[in-house]
Symmetry: D2
């Protein structure tokens, strides 16, 4: 089968090859179900070490929307809501999964995908001072993504400031790391996995977009925060009978620092794509440093391009231009970037 030239997403291929190898090697080992197996236990141990969190609870779930719904539902009381940017994944792209669990997503405007400590503080204070706050959803949690949905990064300073506001106002800080490997491999990033484990109350290490077939590893540094997570997973239909499938993958991703390296080639390819666009005179919609590139294309060029290469529509820019997204991944072939270079120059 011939693969098309495609930059539509970071989940176009299967799994990182050594993961497949491990699945083959272990296939007939008998193990108990529901994530209590030896592979999952080994993966947990390695993740705790990588996070420098010896007591952390670690659970493996299947995908990002599921993980967000289970985590948020396990933290919030019925009358509480979660603060997120207006373009947060939970705000618009989960088909109402958070509301299905009974919770409101409380939106703040995004600044290139991010919210600031000051904005959160101001929102909480306004809520607390409102005469009607007993008739309003109580903000009890803050949801951020690293990298953000726009591929941008929180700096360590920004994350520390958000952590401080959350501590002061008793808000649970939750970080969605669907593409975390691409942040960790990015030279411009100064937030380590250990920083995240220190500053967030709960976060997940993305597998699906970072080398696994499927899987996200939820880390709860203080395991007392959510005592019955296993049962809540089960209730949400998020518990795999063959939990080993997730355990084996994360065990491999955290062997020999694979997770910290796996995003490297994606960043190189993305930077190359950014250079090609700039070189050909195209403007980036925002200057994100990770594996997603948002570029403003003339609609004519967009149409011509799409005949030869696949990418994603993002949003209308003006009547003649469109913002489109190109994504790279651990599996992106650098030859494909070269091919794209040649194609683009035809329309320049």
């Amino acid at each position: 089968m011939k693969s098309k030239l495609s930059f539509t997403s970071d989940y176009l291929e299967g799994a990182y090859p050594t993961i497949l190898k491990r699945l083959l090697e272990t296939n007939f080992v008998k193990s108990v179900g529901y994530g209590l197996d030896e592979f999952s236990e080994s993966a947990r141990k390695k993740i705790r070490e990588a996070c420098d969190c010896p007591k952390a609870a670690v659970y493996f779930l299947n995908g990002g929307t599921q993980t967000n719904a289970v985590v948020i539902d396990s933290i919030l009381k019925s009358y509480q809501g979660v603060v997120a940017t207006d373009i947060g994944h939970i705000s618009i792209h989960e088909a109402g999964a958070i509301e299905f669990g009974g919770h409101k997503v409380l939106n703040l405007p995004n600044n290139y995908g991010k919210i600031s400590a000051i904005e959160i503080k101001s929102y909480i204070e306004n809520f607390q001072q409102d005469d009607n706050h007993d008739h309003m959803v109580e903000p009890a949690m803050v949801y951020i993504s690293q990298p953000t949905e726009y591929g941008t990064l929180y700096s360590l300073k920004e994350l520390k400031a958000i952590n401080k506001v959350c501590r002061n106002y008793n808000l649970t800080l939750y970080l969605d790391g669907a593409r975390l490997a691409y942040a960790l491999a990015c030279p411009k990033n100064n937030v380590s996995l250990k920083d995240i484990a220190e500053l967030c109350d709960v976060f997940y290490i993305g597998g699906t977009k970072c080398g696994a077939f499927l899987g996200e590893a939820v880390v709860i540094p203080n395991p007392d925060l959510i005592p019955h997570f296993f049962k809540i997973m089960k209730q949400h239909g998020a518990l795999l009978a063959k939990g080993r499938l997730l355990g084996i993958q994360f065990d491999e991703l955290f062997t020999n620092d694979l997770y910290f390296k796996i995003g490297h080639s994606a960043i190189v390819a993305a930077n190359e794509l950014r250079n090609i666009f700039k070189d050909c005179g195209y403007k980036l919609a925002f200057d994100s440093p990770t594996n997603q590139i948002f570029v403003i294309l003339n609609n004519k060029v967009k149409e011509n391009l799409s005949a030869e290469v696949e990418f994603s529509f993002w949003e209308k820019f003006d009547d003649n231009h469109t913002i489109v997204r190109f994504a790279t991944s651990w599996a992106t072939n650098i030859d494909d970037v070269d091919k794209f270079d040649k194609i683009l120059r035809k329309f320049a």
Copy 2:
């Protein structure tokens, strides 16, 4: 790694070997996400053929509890409930997943895991005649399992009778086929996949316990029954980004009739185990013909046995006896059955 002698469940190992082969072969093919890929499409086509349902909608989900929750939630209106036996998987072993979606499970007593058309009819008529029925949950769906949670089978006659009652009273008939391969491979079974597709409004073909790493294929013979299933999957966190992982597995399971053959060795091994128990003078708690064996053990024997072989506690029988469950699967090694034979005879 040395594998223990274990009959605790039918999900002890990884996946059927040819599935792993297919995953390897296709690993770097690029495909679109969310189950819209070519592998999933091919699997759907094969399943439609196997069911003789050319227009059926087919969706791939991750596990049984998730599938039950999504299907039931997509069918029922907020004020409606689903009828099931008191030992149905949705009744007791899903940690309240159905109630999480807002629906009541309306229990009828089981007869070796089954309910009859007559009991359903009587229940519905009593409901309709009750002066207070506007204050009660409306039964709108019937949930059955084939094989049942006790390993027993509905006959074609029984299934036809249930279908008739459901038609007459406008109830949606849903069949949980978590272990369907073990029914289809069972000589005592007279209900074909085509019968199920003809008689049920929605059902799922189990993958997780029948050769796949994970995955259940929901079949909706009349696709108009549930118009927005994709979105409901998304809202439930049941939509995998790399849907190909499920598509590839089911494509393989429905290649060369694998799904129809894969349960055969499990049935042979289960019958062998049943004979060993009987031979040694133990009574079966119920005479189920599929891959689960429920046997009554003297507590002393149970304790001795458990030092050398793993199996599941089912329920207390009396002060001196316990019902335990042994399960076989496509991966059960017949040598393990022989080993078990020798162990059991030590205590006979």
Copy 3:
């Protein structure tokens, strides 16, 4: 308007006359909304005194189903359920209100409407010992009614035993007092309001069936048990803008011990009805001592009777007999009982 002879329920008329008087007197007093008014505050004070619970939190809601849903939802975590008899109001007659809030009602068989401490203990221990309990809904609350749905009464000894089991197994004990006035006025009752306040974690004092137009007073002896009840009421649509309407009624019901006396005439009338039935040779289905009478009628008699007097169908007894319910209330006119006597004797 001529009123028919009717014993169908205990909510056939408006409100106790002095309640109407108070509504008239206070009509143009301005008060703040949402139950923070002076009338509600006064009612709370009187209820705390009547319960001998100086610190209790007291909230006023509109009806029984609403109260049960709000209380249960405010106590249970998402993965927990409430234990109740199979004929409990929450089990069958609330159209799935508890499930709408995401919780399973865990049914135990009733014994004339009641469950015993021993049965609860046994249920909890079985749950805890079940290997699969992490896949099951956790019982975390016990729901009982005083009087029960069958009009029977828990004795003080029975209630103390249930309290003890709940303490030992960390279960919240909740008592539904929809008809509590009829228990308190019953000579056979030995459980006082103070006993209930001492032995239950949360309970409600029924108004709707006991003299009010509408209203149930939830009492939480230890107010820390449910910190955000107000907000949960709001979220459930259970918070009246003019909370004074409830406050004024309960203030009146707890003035001069009215609530303790209001059920007296209903019990007298009910006993009279029971005697009339027995005298005419009819059997009671169960011997309940409060304001509901469950009697077994020959279907012919039932039909003849229903031409002249209204009562409720309860359930089929056998092919020739039906169990019907007669209810009396604070508003029952003893003349109506005499009229009924004459009617019944016509068919004797």
Copy 4:
């Protein structure tokens, strides 16, 4: 009891005097429960006539939040959401009641409390054209208030335009009439009750703020739109046992056109208040024509005023000014307006 000078809300007093009279007169009439009584039936008949909707289904609920939650939940499928302004009552002041039912409120910016047909159309078209719309909550309903939360009014032309968009895009149009009597009594209003019944799919006629103790009348011009509303009410805990309490009140409100007249004095008083403010040199925050007045006060004046008269904080205007709300109602005494005049002039 001496009443304070207060303009904090339109639910400060009890009920319109003739309502109390009717409650007294009917108190010992026996009637069936749950809104099936003769009073409710009579009220329904009068409301159908007033709406010129002979086939409309009419239901009586207790309060605004409850009504919104029940109506929205009965219309939307699980994956659908409701479009409302960012200051809509369902968006911010219902403590998450809509999300509790599993639905997202999709916010559009308000224009003095209103949204326009064009904005709705644009929102829907953007949704439909979005590549990811299957991962997003589907807008299926539009929620508007008449008068709005800011006291402003939709004109007939505006309402017709919204109706047209809703028809074209298959959106259910729902109008919240919590304060409808104040719109109907307002000289600037050109939308009649009959217009509303013709243009909206479902709406409610507010009682709580318009003369009743409690109660909102839901009108569904085409009763087939929501077939099981009664049961959904029950499930939401919204069904009163003594439904007559609501029926009698609405029967009175729709006798001799009371509902159309009851807001008149409130509008006169509100206009008077507006004139007093303007006369004293204060600016209105928005020029609403109904019974709510939003005025910008210097913080010093606000503090001084609040020592002598009660009103509501609305929002901070700038560091030295605050927007406050004064509300009048059917019960507002014009003498109180005169008293206020004298007080305000002291600080002018």
